[in-house]
Symmetry: C2
Subunit: 311 residues, 2 copies
């Protein structure tokens, strides 16, 4: 294990990642000049012990997921990733090999999603859990999607299964990861998908589901001035049923699990192949779940939120 | 002390800070659309126990300094602040009053430096020291300054005293803060200055001094392909002399102290009133300090760097 200073950290990171294309930025510089196209911006932090656990994710998984989470947000706006800033608060005893693995995972993710270039950031040490922040820039697609464009009567659609990552985390935590490679992979290396032209045309509003379907769908409904009905039968259910202890666990994974990184679109017609209906926006306020028999019951729009303050 | 979730944290922050002007971003949104002018970007993190110590800085000071540090970088590029992203990893037991004080300090700094608007960010909890990251956008000035434009023969100039903040921190740590209000204030609430038109015209290269004169001047010299001579007599010396134990402490504060947040400009003529000469760029490699009698001695370009890895 060698001892690194922050310049060596930056050198190791930039060895595998593309350097900034801006003539202004160079390794160690504090500022960058954005390209005229880099108009979309999202940012997302991952905290050791909160968003990742090194008992069941490698540093390479963490690097991959840090970019994937941000890519998911850019995709939900209808954009494509172009450039990134990376701010790392790292424990003093972090091994060089861990850093190399982190960079490798980030590089693998970057290669998958259009090779956004690293244009700057900040590196510091911390006497505590690692805090990794990525700020991702993107160029606009043919439209700019927001969560506020939904209309009463719209149906809601998602572009992937719900609850898979939550199930994967539960399996890892209980030592049963062998029961579903797919669920474990969904937790470790989420794979957000860009909106294809058909979905871009159909969508009235879009949001990335990262804190659970109920909470994020409520955010879209609320921003659109609508109420919400979510169906009980959701994509991924058949895959997850054999993994869940009971109906309650299955519902918790699918409705409030978090870490899905699928897109939720509000549209009057289907956004295209690969999209599954999960509910609808209503003119009346409130958040309801629709049983298979068509009856409704009220639900709290809960999901993953961080809490602060002395209880 | 009330218990807050992350939405309440965002609500408290945005109560005092201007909301994003972008129609796309609203409280809780993950993404923003940058204005066409927001082309400059800098980012800087502050870690509890590394960059600030709550024994001698208030949460309000910390909020102020977080923005000031980033403003200093934007000013060094010749720009003006316009918009910001704020990513906070906060201890679970953080009191609401601490958060309000932090927001108040940030707001005070924002009011001083052109009211950059908050356009987004991320809030999370951490089982450890707080990690506060600010990403600041800016619009370009009449020129875009980089650290790489210096020429052999240029003189080096700074727009403020050197070592004042380091002296302030030393006084706070030794319980002697009463000995210099100015030094203590320089540590708690740095006050970076924008480049005026005369300095913008004169400057061949510019860098923000945050890690100490020697290290940052070496970065400018190195990026410009030059060597470096720094004078032993530096601005702020007379103020600091009575506070320092000896010549070594004085030199350490002024040459390697860090946290100065003054701009270092490389130019053939003076950048204007308020600028003090501190050395020159040379065609020969190396880093030297020039004694009052004109003799030179070699110096390591040292300053504050974070270190990682098992020793």
């Amino acid at each position: 294990m060698s001892r690194l200073d922050e310049l060596a950290v930056i050198e190791r990171l930039t060895r595998s990642l593309s350097l900034g294309r801006s003539g202004l930025w160079s390794v160690g510089d504090d500022g960058a000049l954005l390209a005229a196209q880099d108009r979309l911006v999202v940012t997302d932090a991952m905290v050791e012990g909160r968003h990742f656990d090194l008992r069941w994710s490698s540093w390479s998984d963490v690097g991959f997921k840090l970019l994937a989470r941000n890519v998911s947000d850019i995709f939900a706006m209808g954009g494509r990733p172009t450039a990134m800033l990376l701010t790392l608060a790292l424990p003093c005893n972090l091994a060089a090999a861990a850093l190399d693995a982190f960079a490798k995972g980030l590089e693998t993710a970057a290669a998958r999603w259009g090779n956004p270039v690293l244009i700057g950031g900040d590196t510091t040490s911390v006497d505590g859990p690692a805090v990794l922040t990525l700020t991702l820039f993107g160029k606009r697609g043919s439209r700019l999607l927001a969560r506020s464009g939904g209309r009463a009567g719209d149906r809601l659609w998602v572009d992937g299964p719900l609850g898979l990552a939550a199930a994967g985390l539960a399996l890892l935590a209980s030592g049963e990861s062998h029961r579903s490679e797919v669920a474990v992979a969904a937790h470790r290396r989420p794979s957000p998908k860009p909106l294809l032209p058909g979905a871009m045309r159909a969508a009235h509003a879009c949001i990335d589901i990262s804190d659970g379907l109920l909470l994020d769908a409520s955010r879209l409904a609320s921003a659109s001035g609508c109420g919400l009905v979510v169906t009980e039968v959701l994509p991924g259910r058949e895959q997850l049923q054999p993994l869940a202890r009971d109906r309650e666990e299955l519902a918790a994974w699918q409705l409030t699990g978090g870490d899905d990184y699928v897109r939720l679109v509000s549209a009057s017609a289907s956004p295209g192949r690969g999209w599954s209906p999960v509910g609808r926006l209503t003119a009346d306020e409130g958040c309801f779940i629709e049983r298979e028999d068509g009856t409704l019951y009220a639900a709290a729009p809960s999901g993953y939120l961080h809490h602060f303050g002395q209880p």
